[in-house]
Amino acid sequence: MAYQFVSYEDHIADLLVSKGYRRFVGASPLAWDITIGRMNDLPDDQITIYQVGGNKPEVRWLVDYPAIQIKVRGGANNFKAAREKAEILSNLLVGQASYTAANGDRIVSIGGIGTVGALGWDDKKRPEFVLNLSMITEPHPDNRPNSNREPL
């Protein structure tokens, strides 16, 4: 395969897109669109995916243990819907069967770190929830061309 780097947060976004979600399109954003790394002010109902860090990668083998955070924000009068959306995302992602992504990276597992957490409200009284995930991944060696590690 040719080099095609995809971040772990993008892998999660791609997985959610395959399950019917949509990435944020600035020209015509919809409720529950997915953004990466930064939550936009609009729409109110939004899902943002961040990479947090994770556990130490394997030194000898191309195996990583990234951690992901998903933040869900609802409208000011949409607490229940936002809470429910966070739960739905948790159910869709935690325990996902192993699969090979389009760029060749192997997503071995997706697990939860705790359960859905409520963060309260932002400065516009919009409710926020977070879901933390731990992943085990085997990046395709073509996507890590300078790596000292070897594929399993």
């Binding site: 930064r38 947090v52 860090g53 556990n55 933040k71 770190i113 957490g117 963060l119 977070v130």
Partner: protein
């Protein structure tokens, strides 16, 4: 002979039972000692992790860092150690700051200070527990 069992066999059985009773007594003592030591061992093993989390904890006012705790508790009769910040919702913004990946913090402070400390130091915690229980 007693019911087909020789006197020497009866003696052997009594001796074996007495020996086993001593083994059980020693084992119970060992378990008791381990149970007594575990809270201290866990606290000792997690102390460097807690110190690392304090290093990463944002300190604009110092209130969040001051709210950090590491303590031995008891859960359903079993020893447990708890580590955290903002217990009881004080300061009330602690969870929000911990989980907000978009705030800018002055290095080395950062969001997720407790989670990162646990992830970075997790393998060392296990090693410290094993080493301490071996002594």
């Amino acid at each position: 002979m007693t019911a087909g069992i020789s006197a020497s066999e009866v003696s052997d059985t009594r001796s074996a039972r007495a020996g086993m009773a001593q083994i059980i007594k020693n084992y119970r003592k060992f378990v008791h000692n381990v149970e007594e030591a575990v809270p201290t061992v866990l606290l000792m093993a997690l102390e460097p992790t807690f110190e690392l989390s304090l290093e990463y904890c944002p300190k604009d006012t110092g209130a969040m860092a001051a709210s950090g705790y590491l303590e031995a508790t008891d859960f359903r009769g079993k020893p447990r150690v708890e580590m955290g910040y903002g217990r009881g919702g004080e300061p009330e913004y602690t969870a929000k700051v911990h989980e907000n990946m978009e705030y800018k913090h002055k290095a080395p402070t950062r969001a997720k200070w407790l989670q990162i400390a646990l992830q970075e130091d997790g393998p060392n915690v296990q090693r410290r527990i094993v080493a301490a229980l071996k002594v």
